[in-house]
Structure formats: structure tokens, C-alpha cells
Subunit: 286 residues, 3 copies
Amino acid sequence: MKKLLFHLDTDAQPSAFDQVVAYDGGADAVLAYGGVAADNCFPLVEGAIFTRAPKNKRYTAILIGGSDLAQAEALMETVKSQFFEGFRVSLMLDANGCNTTAAAAVAMLGAAHPLKGASATVLAGTGPVGQRAAVMLAQSGARVRLTSRKLDRAQQACEGISERYGVAVEPMAASDAAGTAAAIEGAAVVLATGQAGVQLLSAEIWQASSSLRAVGDVGTCPPLGVEGMDMTDGGREVDGISLFGGLAFGALKLRAHREAISRMFESNDQVWDAEETLALARELYD
Amino acid sequence: MKKLLFHLDTDAQPSAFDQVVAYDGGADAVLAYGGVAADNCFPLVEGAIFTRAPKNKRYTAILIGGSDLAQAEALMETVKSQFFEGFRVSLMLDANGCNTTAAAAVAMLGAAHPLKGASATVLAGTGPVGQRAAVMLAQSGARVRLTSRKLDRAQQACEGISERYGVAVEPMAASDAAGTAAAIEGAAVVLATGQAGVQLLSAEIWQASSSLRAVGDVGTCPPLGVEGMDMTDGGREVDGISLFGGLAFGALKLRAHREAISRMFESNDQVWDAEETLALARELYD
Amino acid sequence: MKKLLFHLDTDAQPSAFDQVVAYDGGADAVLAYGGVAADNCFPLVEGAIFTRAPKNKRYTAILIGGSDLAQAEALMETVKSQFFEGFRVSLMLDANGCNTTAAAAVAMLGAAHPLKGASATVLAGTGPVGQRAAVMLAQSGARVRLTSRKLDRAQQACEGISERYGVAVEPMAASDAAGTAAAIEGAAVVLATGQAGVQLLSAEIWQASSSLRAVGDVGTCPPLGVEGMDMTDGGREVDGISLFGGLAFGALKLRAHREAISRMFESNDQVWDAEETLALARELYD
């Protein structure tokens, strides 16, 4: 029986990245659909849950992707609402790689410095990866701040996180050096998740911090968000601070992504979101 | 040589259900195209008939799907018209599962009561499944009535059936209990093929019939079209009448669908429409 | 590790022909995208180059297709511009089969008569196949003329060829028998690449030529462009002239197309355009 991955993407063009990882994770075929939304996913879910006998439903799984996290979350809820009794398949949310990328980053930062009780800041954290990283840091016991250039965008993200995950994240505005310095004041862990080409944190600021123990940056396109960071850093120490760059995160992200795909085909009732993906990334990184 | 199924769907979103069944029927890869119509299918058919040597053409086949039966039939005719001499591949029409679902239903009802010479009624029969069921019942020697809430819709369906298959089906209006009672007057076999959630036949009416021997309902979403029916009924007898529900039909439908896909790859000149699909469903049900 | 072919097509409907050939050339799965252009290909290229370890990048390759050669060439340049250091995969341009078809024709004509120093004419050569054939003939050392019904269209094609490949091709208008006779005056090799159903060269004209040694016609739909040609001709001699028809070219084209796909997966740094494809067709024809 072939392992079939339904790749439901909220973007018009279904992600090629996710399809390659799906094959490398063990899928025999990928059914890739673009432009999937809550209002047109019903026949797709029917195709996933009504086509195979109960003992074979584990050979079908669904990945939800796309660049808009809110749309992807809404799609995931609608898909789940169509499941009933045994008529379900394993399901993974990874819009723009948000869960696998954030899980890799949080697993690596957390291995460098214990997160429980720590103060952590996610810089430029309103995107999919930043939001998921904030959730995972909070679920790991850290006190978390999330910044945006505009306070209302940070507030909106934190409210969404609170509603969906029941964890508190503090919104802060950080549009210049002073704002950023305030946002990382007392933080042991900082993760930059901003857009390519925008420097968020100068070397002067992070090297002056006495609290910092681990700094990460998910960027893979220079200039990076954290000055002095190298994309290949995988724990390089500078002034007692461990640095982690996007390519180091990326390697673990890919392993976690592939492994999550692989495990989805082991049973038909799994849900892969923030918590499950972080646990996997930690298992693989150890 | 890989078995390639061209899945040409008249809907914008090519059916995921049909793709899963294609893989389970033995296809190694599915080339799924949505929005296929008579005016854009030419390069697709060229891709099917011009790419492989004569002895290998049987490894390519075409399934025509979609929710609009008339569009699918027009597409099938256009595809056929592009075939010539050895330049053809096996072809199956199953718009919205019409042939495989109707074949499963007619095979099971016909096993419960001989169709030759019997009177049969298809309730709410203007959709793809209902139309094909009416054709198959008529081809099996039954006298067939087909109902719709509006007479002109029933007439239109029956005219289309007559033109395409050369069999007579009597159109009837049935918008209330009295109309339905009249439509099944004297019938030994009744099949309900209406939309989900609309009751077509009350228990009072069918239990009062002295002629009925087998009643089916293709619905898989309660409330069903036939009151007192259970979706899992696979011949349960009530007052001497055998009842058949949508999940029982569905299991045979899936077997027939997969097996038809599998057989298409045995030669390059098969055409699967109502008659061939019914014969297969009977073979599998015996 | 599965061999994945990214099929990036500039047409809305990605070519089914190319997908079948991709599977027959050894691809395990094809990621087919339609409507791909320079402005939306970035995430697709990222998916090709960032998903697999360096040693495994050879298991991903890209085919660029579509009916508009200029668009396909622009897309190819954009894709190439995203490659850097080891982050690249093998790449093939075959818009509308232009390179593989032209390569098959030029390989077969060149085997019948040496091209170096010869005079060659491509009739109705402004389309993808005609342009690529002119390039290949010129790269093989022939003096090449390319005709169109309108001189400016021929000039435009020749200028594009000169810019991209640095070879000179002489544009000529040929809209009637006299124009065509002048265009093949002194030519040893003639290839017709016009649209289906339009006769370009009468038997009277080509049989009257004392210079002609080999005549080809890529058409596979009668009436052919060269009167007296048979689609299956694979070197049939008439008055000392070797004739080659579209089905003979097509068989070699398919072999070259499949083999190029197969070879792309041997390393991650190949580029398949006119020159490489012609060399392969010659190797396979010998």
C-alpha cells in the first residue's frame, strides 16, 4: 500500500520544498493542492478518510502548508472538524516551515541554555516562525517577549498565541537600537526571526549584555538580523554567548520535518503542531 | 515501465478520492489535471498516445472525472475522437463516481431480486449516480422510472439517457409523499440517489408496499433518503424487503473502482462506462 | 533517494507529454507546475536547491517546458541566476520539445550528408523547433538560411539566435513557390518545421534541385510541409536525396529526451540546451 501525503497549501502554488521533504520522509506519492481553504477542502478530506479500510488509513496523511499562518490554522481546524471516529488520518501543520523551523531553533537554543525560568525574546516575531518559536519557548517554561516594529502587530500576535495555546507572551515594540536593547534587557535567550536583509540586533548591543547566553537567527540570506552571526554557526561561543545561525537550524529542521512525515504514516490519529514538533526536534538533536 | 494514470477532471480541483483509488488500483503515478474540457484536452491526449511504443501503450490509461456528468461525457467523446488505429489508451468514465457507485448499487439490488422484467424506480435520479443507475437497471431488463421534484428535470435526464444509451426510462415528478407513493407503485426495486439530508421515502410508504423486494440508498450522511435505512445495511430484511445502505454500496464501489483501474493497464483499448462497470461489480459481488 | 524532476512549464497546463517521458527517463516522481515565469519561480528553485544534502542534490533536476520559447529561455536564465556554489541542480530546456526534436532532425540529416561547410535551409523556421534546428546546423558548421512568410519574423528569429548563441543565420522571406525555390537554391540540406497542414515545398521544386542531398520534415499530421515525404521515412532515397519524416525524427527525439532526463540525475551541475542535446542525439543515432 502506497504512503500518500495530501499536501494542502493555502498558497496558489503548492510548496515544492515541502514536496521534496515529503518524498524524503517516505511518502510514495504526494497529492499537492494549491489554493486550499476552509471553504474548498471538504472533498479533499473526504478523499483522505473514505478511500481506505480502517487498518490502511495510516498510509494516508495530510500536511497543511502555506505562507499565511492564520489561514493554515483555520484550514487545520476545518479539516479536523471533518474527522469522526475512525475516519481520520494523521495531520501536520507546518505553514512556511513554521513548526519545524521554530522547533529546530528552540531545541538548539534550549540545549545551550535551560529555558525553564529563563527570559527569552523573539525579535521580529510576528511571522509564522516567530509566533511558533514564542509558543514553544513559553511551553518550555520561559518568560517570553515578542517584538515587532509596531506595537499593535506584536499585540495581535500575542493575543492569537494566547487564544490558541493558552500561554502568555509579552508584546513589545522595537523599531530602533534603543527599543531592541530594552526588549532583550535581562534576556538569556534571543531568537531573531525577521525578514531577509534587515539587521535587528547590532553586535554592540548583544555583546554588551550580561544576561545573554544563547542567540539565534533563522535567516539564511545576508545581511542577517543579528550582526556578527554566521549562518553556519552551530553553537560558536563569543564572550560566553552561544551563537546559532540559519543553516545550523535548517539542517535540524529538515531532519525533524522528514522524520515527522515518516512517523505520520505509523498511525492514523496523530496531530503535529508546535508541541509535538518541538519534542521531536529535541529528540533528534540530543 | 511505470503505470501512469491520466486523471482528467472537469472540476477545477481534481478529485483526491479518485487519485487515492488510482494508486490503490495499481497506478505508479497519477497525472492529475483539473479544469479539463473538450477545448483544452488535445495536448493531454497527445501526451497519452504519442509517448510510448505500441507494446507499452497499455501502461498509460485515462480516467475522466468531475461532478458534471454532461461535461465529462463530452470530454470522453472528444478524447475518443483523438484516438486512431493503435494510438489509443484505455479509458474510464466515472464522473463523481457515477459508474462505480451505480454499478455497486445495481449489482447488489439485482442479486437480491432479479431485474429482468422487474419494475424499478430511481428516486431523485437526475444526478450522475441516479442517471447511471437508471441506465444499468434498464440495460438489465427492468422497466425503469426516474423521479425528480420537477418533471422537466426528470424528462431532461431521461432524454439524455435515451440519446446516449438507447434505453427508455420513464420520467416522473415526485415532490411529496403522494408523488413518491405513485412513483414506486408496483415497483420491486427502489434506489434513492438524492442529496444528503433530504428524506425521499418514508418508512410508512415503503413498508405498505406489497410489490417491493429490494430498497437501496446511496447516501452516507444522515438523515438518509429512505427512512428506516441504516448506512451499513447490506441486505437486512424488513417485512420481506432487503435493505442496502450507502456504506455497503461504498465498499463494493471501491473494490470495483480499484479493479477497473487495475484492468485498464492490461491492454490499451478498453472503454469503461456503464455496462462494463456493472459487469465488473457483479463479478466482484458474486 | 527518489529521483525528483521539477517540471516547470510556462503554459498554464503543464505538458503531459513531458511528464510521461520524465517517468520513462527514470524520474520517480514529477513535481509539475504550470504558469511558471521568472517572477514566481523563486520558491520553486529554493525547493530544488535547499532540500537535499550536497551529495544528494543530483537526485533533483529541473526541466523547463512550454510552448513559448522566449518565455522558457527567460525562465531558464532566472533559474540559473538563483544557483550558487554547490546549490544547483541539473537543468534542461526543452520548450515544446524544441531541443530534442531539433537535435533528432539535425543528427539524422547530418548523418545523411556532412553539415560542415554545407548549405542548409530551415523552412518556416521561426518556431521553437525551427530556431533550435538553425542553431544546431550553424553550430555544426553549415551556412544556414531560415525562412518565414514574412521577412521581419525571420529577421527577428535570426537576431535572437545571434544574441543567444553567437552564430549567424540568414533570414529570408518565402511565401510562395518562387520564394521557396530561392531559399533552397544551392542547399544540400533542407528541414521543414512549419505548422501542421501547410505545404511548404512542392515535389517539383525539390526534385529539380541538383544540390539537395537530404530533406527532412518534422510534421506528423498530413498534409506534410514537404510534398512526397512520408512521415515514416527514415532515409528513403529519391533521386539521390535522403528523405526523413516526423515519425522517424520522433522516435529518436523520444530516445534522446528520455536519455537526457536519465543523465541529469548523474550529477547536479548539468545544463542541457541545444549543443548538449544535439551531441546526445548523435551518440544515440550512431
